[in-house]
């Protein structure tokens, strides 16, 4: 009996359910919040069973929506054994309170505090209400004119000597380690860290709400500015979700070239990570080597699109531009060169005793990483074999030969090594795809959606802005893509009149939840190494 049937047998009678492609469960409407004592136990029992019996060990995302007074929470769960994604919808009526799941899944803390920050909601157990007062005002917007003060350290009644000397100190955004990026408050004594707080919201720009006012074509350019390290994956995710909902077929060549772009972006993202890590730890010679390789990748981007980032290349149904003549051979040559240099650099690093000493700290066990909802190379460094390119292959990932590198302890060194190996595998994929590049067009213009959009006969894709209609399907969907940092997800609810709700699952936000526990008890000098090794992106985190 498959997991799907078991779930249907257990909950199918009471809940509204649909198990067609991805599972979804909707709570019955009798649930009214705040819950009675009987209902609370039923509610907790349900989620406990999900985790314990049905082995949904990962909570991927929580999304909140207010539909003219009626409020909904959408939970996304994942079973890693059979790769089954389940969406649970909880209507909470008019209530200002919603229940917390942090006792079962630790990753829910990040999502819940994100909801509390930006909306007029409280957690039913009363945690984090203080944080809300600091960050949000009545009209759903962050309003802050003064610098957020440091928290006060309360000395316990019978303090030890180290407890007496502890104090809070602010690092960043304009002090040496976090140059203009992020603010971290640390509780320190004698160069040791005992507690920390990552202050979010410095780059909050209300991305999700402003998306709703945009046209689906304009959204591609908007999504390119979602995260700085993944300017290929975020627009591709948006394009893919629209292609799925309108069922637009793709030509083979477009699929292959998109794969090359994704892997090039992964190479570029990992090279930036390696460059930043080497530079901050004082390995300037190696850093300059990585910077030189980066310029090679930028050169490839520049030939195709004329830009080094925010390419505006992807559209619904394929690519905007045909690949220029000779681009493939240049790619192959660059891949060969990068592979050779990376192998040499890896040998140098492994021989260097100082490098091994600096990067040996900050371990993370596999169980904890799953609890915190880690994805991507950070999860694979802990030894969990999870890659959506293998479990849910899109494009030609099924036909391509590549491996998923895994770490052992989840230390900084493992995170470094996994990324280095992944970079090599990406180069392997690029080689294989470009060797067997299919012939044909790169865009499918024959679909109905394009009839009113594109001028017929013109070679370039100049389209009419008038008379553009996109009838959406009614319903919700959650789609995700394996980006450089982890799983980048997108939740949308659509109605025939247009897009109603959009929510982005950013991997950096999830990884930031574990930052506090990762550096606790460590040395002050290692804080930046840990921050850098998690590869957090504040621009994407705040949205």
């Amino acid at each position: 009996m498959s997991l799907r049937d078991e779930l249907f047998k257990k909950f199918g009678t009471k809940f509204q359910s649909s198990f067609s492609d991805k599972g979804s469960l909707v709570f019955p409407e009798d649930f009214s919040f705040p819950l009675d004592s009987e209902e609370t136990t039923l509610y907790q029992d349900f989620f406990f069973q999900l985790k314990d019996e049905f082995r949904f060990h990962m909570l991927i995302d929580i999304c909140y929506e207010d539909v003219s007074g009626e409020r909904f929470l959408y939970y996304q769960f994942l079973n890693l054994e059979v790769y089954f994604c389940l969406q649970v919808t909880v209507p909470i009526g008019n209530s200002n309170y919603f229940p917390s799941l942090s006792s079962l899944w630790k990753s829910s803390e990040v999502f819940e505090s994100d909801i509390v920050k930006h909306h007029e909601l409280f957690l039913s157990d009363g945690r984090k209400t203080q944080q809300r007062q600091v960050l949000a005002s009545a009209n759903n917007k962050i309003n802050q004119d003064e610098i957020i003060p440091l928290p006060e350290y309360q000395i316990p009644l019978r303090p030890t000597e180290s407890q007496r000397q502890r104090y809070w100190k602010r690092f960043g955004p304009h002090s040496s380690p976090f140059n203009g990026k992020v603010r971290v408050d640390l509780l320190i004594s004698e160069e040791r860290v005992f507690d920390s707080r990552l202050v979010p919201g410095l780059y909050f720009r209300d991305f999700e709400k402003k998306c709703l006012t945009k046209d689906p074509f304009n959204m591609i350019f908007f999504f390119e500015r979602l995260c700085i390290k993944d300017c290929v994956f975020a627009p591709l995710l948006w394009v893919e979700t629209i292609e799925q909902s309108f069922s637009i077929p793709l030509p083979d060549k477009a699929k292959a070239i998109r794969m090359v772009w994704m892997e090039l972006a992964r190479v570029e993202g990992h090279l930036t990570f390696l460059w930043e890590l080497a530079q901050e730890l004082g390995f300037f010679v190696e850093a300059s080597v990585f910077a030189e390789l980066l310029e090679q990748v930028y050169h490839l981007f520049n030939i195709y699109s004329g830009k080094t980032q925010n390419f505006s290349l992807f559209t619904f149904g394929g690519m905007k531009k045909e690949s220029p003549i000779g681009w493939g051979t240049e790619c192959l040559e660059a891949a060969k060169y990068i592979y050779k240099v990376i192998e040499e650099v890896e040998r140098e690093f492994n021989r260097n005793p100082r490098w091994m000493e600096v990067t040996k700290g900050f371990p993370m066990s596999a169980g904890k990483a799953l609890e915190y909802g880690f994805t991507g190379p950070n999860l694979r460094a802990c030894g969990v074999n999870f890659d959506t390119r293998k479990t849910q292959p899109t494009y030609f990932y099924d036909d391509v030969d590549f491996e998923v590198p895994l770490g052992i302890d989840g230390t900084t060194y493992d995170r470094f090594l996994v990324r280095l190996e992944e970079l090599k595998q990406s180069l392997r994929i690029i080689n294989q795809v470009l060797d067997h590049l299919p012939a044909g067009k790169v865009i499918n213009k024959e679909h109905l959606m394009y009839e009113s959009l594109y001028d017929e006969g013109s070679s370039d894709l100049s389209y009419n802005f008038e008379g553009r209609t996109c009838p959406y399907r009614e319903g919700t969907s959650f789609s995700s893509i394996e980006a450089t940092e982890g799983q980048l997800g997108l939740f949308i609810r659509t109605a025939p009149s247009g897009l109603k709700k959009l929510h982005v699952r950013s991997p950096s936000l999830v990884h930031s939840g574990a930052f506090s526990e990762l550096i606790r008890g460590g040395e002050l000098s290692g804080v930046f190494t840990a921050f850098q090794s998690l590869n957090l992106d504040p621009w994407e985190m705040d949205r």
Binding site: N143, I228, L294, Q309
Partner: protein, 181 residues
């Protein structure tokens, strides 16, 4: 002092100043002032505030790109922020980051210059946010979303040239003048 004021007329403020400011200041510079401004323009230390696409393009300036050329000799990063001359602001400006930008500007010592990089900072047009000219006096704007490497280099060289010619006059701000919107 009185004769000086009589000859040139009352000095106008920087904001509502005359159009021919550069000509006026060039003539009024003596040898020592010219030497001082030249020496300032030869070595500048920028401080980059921002973590967006523009910042990523800015970090390419320290890379091995042959386009960058001699600009690397004139702009050298230094820490802490008190020893920096140029505040490079990139990224959006919301109410959260505004007090930190003002704090960074106040911590820098005079003479200090401000370079605004990217459309988000200059106009706030991309995400409908605040523009920087409501907070700080800006010396040079660099446009683009994100700006190319060439336009960044041009912007930095323009700033250097304007410092050398003495066309940038340091504004003495009153207390509480910053951050009025």
């Amino acid at each position: 002092m009185k004769t000086h004021e009589n000859r040139l007329g009352p000095r106008k403020s920087f904001w509502g100043g005359p159009a021919g400011l550069s000509f006026y200041s060039l003539n009024s510079m003596n040898f020592l002032e010219r030497l001082k401004s030249w020496s300032q323009s030869e070595l500048l230390s920028p401080f980059v505030l921002g973590a967006n696409c523009c910042a990523r393009e800015l970090y390419r300036l320290s890379g091995p790109n042959p386009q960058v050329g001699s600009i690397r000799e004139n702009f050298i990063e230094s820490e802490p922020i008190e020893s920096c001359d140029v505040l490079v602001v990139s990224g959006i400006i919301n109410e959260q980051i505004r007090p930190y930008i003002i704090e960074a500007y106040e911590r820098m010592l005079s003479p200090r210059y401000v370079l605004a990089v990217g459309t988000c900072t200059a106009t706030g047009a991309v995400f409908d946010t605040m523009a920087i000219d409501k907070i700080l006096p800006v010396d040079v704007y660099v446009g683009g979303c994100p700006p190319t490497l060439d336009s960044l280099i041009n912007g930095l060289e323009l700033l250097r040239e304007r410092i050398r010619k003495g066309t940038i006059r340091q504004v003495e701000l009153k207390e509480g003048a910053l951050g009025e919107s």
